[in-house]
Symmetry: C2
Subunit: 396 residues, 2 copies
Amino acid sequence: MAKINSNYNKLKTNYLFSDIARKISEYKLAFPEKEIIRMGIGDVTLPLVQPVVDALVKASTEMGNKATFRGYGDEQGYAFLQEVIKEYYEENCKVRLSTNEIFISDGAKSDIANFTELFSNDNTIIIPDPVYPVYLDSNLMFGRKILFINGNEENGFLPLPDKNTKGDIVYLCSPNNPTGAVYNYAELQTWVEFALNNNMIIFFDSAYEAFVSDKGLPRSIYEIEGANKCAVEFCSLSKTAGFTGTRCGYTIVPEDIIIDDNYSLNKMWLRRQTTKFNGTSYIVQRGAEAVFSKEGIAACKENIKYYMNNAKIIAKTLEESNVWFTGGINSPYIWLKCGMDSWEFFDLLLKKAQIVGTPGSGFGKCGEGFFRLTSFNTRENTVEAMRRFKEFLREL
Amino acid sequence: MAKINSNYNKLKTNYLFSDIARKISEYKLAFPEKEIIRMGIGDVTLPLVQPVVDALVKASTEMGNKATFRGYGDEQGYAFLQEVIKEYYEENCKVRLSTNEIFISDGAKSDIANFTELFSNDNTIIIPDPVYPVYLDSNLMFGRKILFINGNEENGFLPLPDKNTKGDIVYLCSPNNPTGAVYNYAELQTWVEFALNNNMIIFFDSAYEAFVSDKGLPRSIYEIEGANKCAVEFCSLSKTAGFTGTRCGYTIVPEDIIIDDNYSLNKMWLRRQTTKFNGTSYIVQRGAEAVFSKEGIAACKENIKYYMNNAKIIAKTLEESNVWFTGGINSPYIWLKCGMDSWEFFDLLLKKAQIVGTPGSGFGKCGEGFFRLTSFNTRENTVEAMRRFKEFLREL
């Protein structure tokens, strides 16, 4: 008799975004004449840049021609893409990788979730709260123990390890989703040293690295000495180049990570991927290659600048209104202290200013009392939303 | 201290294709003037058909335009693709599905391997031998018990359950890889009844269904009564439409499968995919949609006919030479009895006829004494290879 994985019982259904959608529908029905501005969007809105579109079209055409058709590629990705990612790391943050350490995937979400398979279910997983829900759920599915570490106003939502931080694997996300907070060099160094001293592995989610403009902040965990012995880095073109619907990411698994003097995490991941994955579409990999061309990088930077100018407008409004917040400078997310229950703030903001954001409590209990705004809307809407927001705060 | 998943120790490194590659290189070095014909290819060789290329180009262009750009799609796929697959099932084999039962993926390999996560590690998995290695390895990685059931000359490599078939989940692949053998209605009915009587789940791999031309053979397990209560079907466009490098598959999870009166496998898979997967590329899904258009189906059928004519040439040669074989009629694979050790036959065939095939023992111990040829080469090469093969057998 087939026996089910009963760990699925431990998963909570996350109603966050469906609850938000329901509240918007109800409001629209009651006040059809009001214009709602959505500042809760967690998805890019600008189209793919032209060099990427050209590469996708070219690769699609190649696939229709016997001489240039491609069948199965290596599961870990094409060398042409690994090579440009390797160069990107060198130029971007002076990190030297071997192409064997770069695994191409269909996105960071799959890899972040699947990578845990290389570890026994008998591990304690350290997860910052508030958090991207995949970290938690993908480990609950395997029945692993979870230890939350708290983000809060005091630590700027950048928790550091202390004597109570007892676990085996820790997830770090910087720039953070949902808080937009970014660890500096010293803070990441603290984490890396703690991991090395305690034989811990760091899963570093750098999906938002392209939004870091401050030269004094790390964009890769491998900028920290020793990280090549304890950290796996997950990155994605979703936010860097608007690939949320095109699907391509990459995971760095250093050859230097050896567990129990015997297990190469790099070789284990290669074994996992060659067995359970068949590679990312050739067409998409050619599109991804174009992201890293001179023209591609320049065009993607323009798009990021557009979002970041929106973020600046939001951040300026909050500063002028004396609202405490994180993010908005090196991240498309702004995480603000709303001074009341997150959902109460959501309801008020919708009712009084017709602005939709995301209640912080939806990302974990430490998110209660906070609220997320994003910069993925248009300039015009962002400006209008902030005009309304200022007025809303004055009348609060 | 991070603890590794020690089940990885149980995995054997499969050297099959690297051993073959090495032997070819050595032979080429020794006899550079000889022309080798590769009949071991397990990958398609014809390019994508024009309607698919047109759809890929159109979708790529859409992604560069603000008005038609797409960000995140539903993890289970776009409705436009689910709809045409639903219609394909109705027209192809009179099977009625709900679109909620159709999950789009980046290929059958990922889904076949990942689907096991919904089940406890405390299950016994029944796997036919010889076998596609993913079934075995993806279960060994979770430490599950394996029961092999033997394919052989007597059962035509189509094993059926008997009183010793004690397990919880069974993998069936029909048309089979590597043997090309196809279960008929009565045989699949036997499996379905056995599964229902024993609360077993069938994982049905139908990746080669498009190669079935015989109207008297099932192309989907759901043509069998009761299968909607016990079988999950994995299919792919890899061989149907030459998508091995483009990457798109689909998995059918019937809403009627309820385990322990409580667990809907359909809802569990939706939970798994929404948590650990971010959907297949929009561009690829548009290409896949075009496969199922009238023009797409007609063009793909032409390609399959081309491969199947190659298969016929191989089958005819074997019949004329009185060699026992399976496949080649409703499958691109031909599995022949070589009358000696599989690797010995490989070496002889390379040396005497400069033909490369795949030793059956590489697919499991029951494959010993057998040999796989495929129809994915050109017409010209297939004809020449069979001319040589006939001569080779005469001189053996």
